[in-house]
């Protein structure tokens, strides 16, 4: 189908998914045993306060009215307020986002910058020592939980090199060096498993490409090997990797959250866990929805990226 139709279809799907998630959250919160108002106010609230909140939230109204109110609130960006701090949920989340985004982006960047070349080398030097090392490290990487890598890094690099702190976060507004020094270890912990998967994926994709007929045609043209690899092979090899890389963002999430706990970083992940522990439901609800939105659009982005680099889809159809 045409490009525009595809984009429209996928955007519609994205919205549908977010809608389903919001509904699921609505259902989940109301499935928790107990009075939602009491949950929101916390255990010690008095009857008047509870009644007030119940009225405010429309808890005595029919369920479909509540549902409609919920949806319209969300659409307006009103995710409620934190029980713990009283802050509006979205603002609270936004405030905690920077460290998480930093770790995620730096982690992914490091991973990709190392993994793709490693995968290519692995494929072109198949079964030689470069291959064994890269593949071995990749296997180890995908077998380690991010948080454990974080702990190990903390105990080794963190204690050995004073310049690299093992705790806390520094915003980029305080300078790139402080920021990077705080972000480096967590990002490495998160990035390593990701890099492992990307390396293996790149390797197998590259190996497949190397066996394709058009690579032989390129040789028959007398082109030099490096040109054949980077001009003829690379794009074809990376296309499946792009797809996988996008899907893998979901795997990163668990890692980032856990790593924030290890390094004591006050990021979004930590906020989420603490909120669950404290039963700060508005934050939990809001976080779930925000994460879904981010994921859905990230998947959409990756899909579109793939479509733009694959001519078969971009210029579909043929004679």
């Amino acid at each position: 189908m045409g490009l525009q139709r595809y984009v429209a279809k996928r955007t519609l799907q994205a919205v549908l998914v977010i809608y389903v998630v919001a509904t699921a959250v609505f259902v989940a919160i109301r499935s928790i045993p107990g009075d939602p108002a009491r949950l929101i106010l916390g255990g010690d609230a008095d009857a008047d306060a509870i009644a007030a909140v119940r009225a405010e939230l429309g808890l005595d109204e029919p369920i479909y009215v509540q549902y409609a109110r919920w949806m319209s609130d969300l659409a307006r960006g009103d995710f409620g307020s934190s029980i713990y701090t009283g802050e509006p949920v979205l603002a609270r989340i936004a405030g905690a986002a920077e460290p998480t985004l930093s770790i995620g982006l730096v982690g992914i960047s490091i991973a990709i910058l190392i993994a793709i070349p490693a995968g290519i080398v692995s494929a072109t030097r198949r079964d030689r020592w470069e291959d064994y090392v890269a593949t071995g490290v990749a296997f180890l990487g995908i077998s380690m939980p991010s948080f454990w890598i974080g702990i190990v890094l903390l105990l080794t690099v963190g204690t050995a090199i004073p310049a690299i702190p093992s705790y806390g976060y520094a915003s980029i507004s305080e300078g790139v060096i402080p920021w990077l020094s705080h972000v480096l270890l967590p990002a490495a912990a998160v990035g390593l498993p990701y890099a492992g998967i990307i390396t293996r994926m790149t390797r197998s994709s590259m190996l497949e490409v190397l066996g394709e007929d058009y690579m032989q045609t390129a040789r028959a043209k007398g082109l030099p090997p490096r040109l054949i690899l980077f001009k003829h092979g690379l794009q074809n090899a990376l296309m499946p990797v792009v797809t996988v890389a996008g899907i893998l963002f979901a795997l990163l999430l668990g890692g980032i959250v856990a790593v924030e706990m290890v390094f004591g970083i006050q990021g979004f992940g930590r906020l989420l866990i603490r909120s669950i522990e404290r039963q700060d439901f508005p934050i939990v609800q809001g976080s779930v929805i925000v994460i879904s939105i981010i994921f859905v659009f990230m998947n959409l982005f990756v899909d579109l990226l793939y479509m733009s680099i694959n001519p078969k889809i971009k210029y579909g159809g043929g004679a």
Binding site: T217, K221, L227, K231, A319
Partner: protein
Amino acid sequence: MSLLAIEDLAVTFPVEDGPDVPAVDGVDLQVREGEIHGLVGESGSGKSVTARSIMRLLDGAEVTADRFDYRGEDLYAKSEAEMRAVRGDEVGMVFQDSLSALNPVMTVGEQIAEVVRHHGEVDESAGLLSELRRKYVTGTSKSAPSWRRAVELLETVGIPDPEAVATSYPHQLSGGQRQRVMIASALGGDPSLIVADEPTTALDVTVEAGILDELRRLCDEFDVAILLITHDLGVVAETCDRVTVMYSGSVMEHGRTDQLFENPAHPYTKGLLRSIPEQAPTDGELATIPGSAPDPTERPAGCPFRDRCPAAFDACTDPLPEHVVDEGHAARCHLYTDGDDPDEVTWETGTTANGEQNGAAGETADRTPATEVTDG
């Protein structure tokens, strides 16, 4: 003078946990300047392997030959770097499956233009960095000399609206168009020899005719020799000046097309000619060569065809001789070692030159023609 002269070529593929595969065993081949030379054989005959050996694209195989000269220079004495200068520049190759042989993520025009650039046909840089920049950053400019030449070549091979086609991707074109693109790309370096490996096998008959005409035309106009590999004798009859017939890794017969068709010497050639559908009587059954080609690892000693040959006799276990039938026409068959007249060997009677019915012939006569020859 021969453009390409190969003598006693043998190609063996080593196999893990198994016997080595002697795909080609003692092949002589000579291609002259400006001629279209057909290399015919059924699948498994080793014709594709022979073709790829010219380009030295057989990784991992053991290749030996008494002589393997292109324009008098030993191709197998060259280093890989020197060979890269030969590929594309002196010898171009056209592959059978145009869809898989063309890179799906590059425009057709670019795939031709790069050959032009790389072999210095135009004044444009073709270094690694410029190529990568062209690929990932700027794209190839439509006014660049290599692109203009690519469009010219597309027109030369008979593609209408070459400008538009040049910006297309392979999957957007028809099979016939893609095959022409491959030919254009083979011509990009202005070679003297094009090796075409079954270029029309995947195409339907009308399209095939167009491509063959094109090849003939190019050969005449540009004085390019073409080594045309095929399993289809009809194609050979239409297009080729000279023919080499291969079977199970060896040459059975070679000569001018008219010589071979009018006066075939080898029983295998005769069998092939007999089985061309056009030759069959309209009310009769199609003739075939009973049995199938042997597995290369289980090839019989001597003549590989003897198990299916109606005229086989005990001398056929000896290594193949070369018998000259006429000028430029020779067959490798023991039937002629006594200097007997080839006309007496036929498929119908299954008699040897000295008029005796023999065991193999008797068996052949009993088999029904419905047994099919494995075809390419």
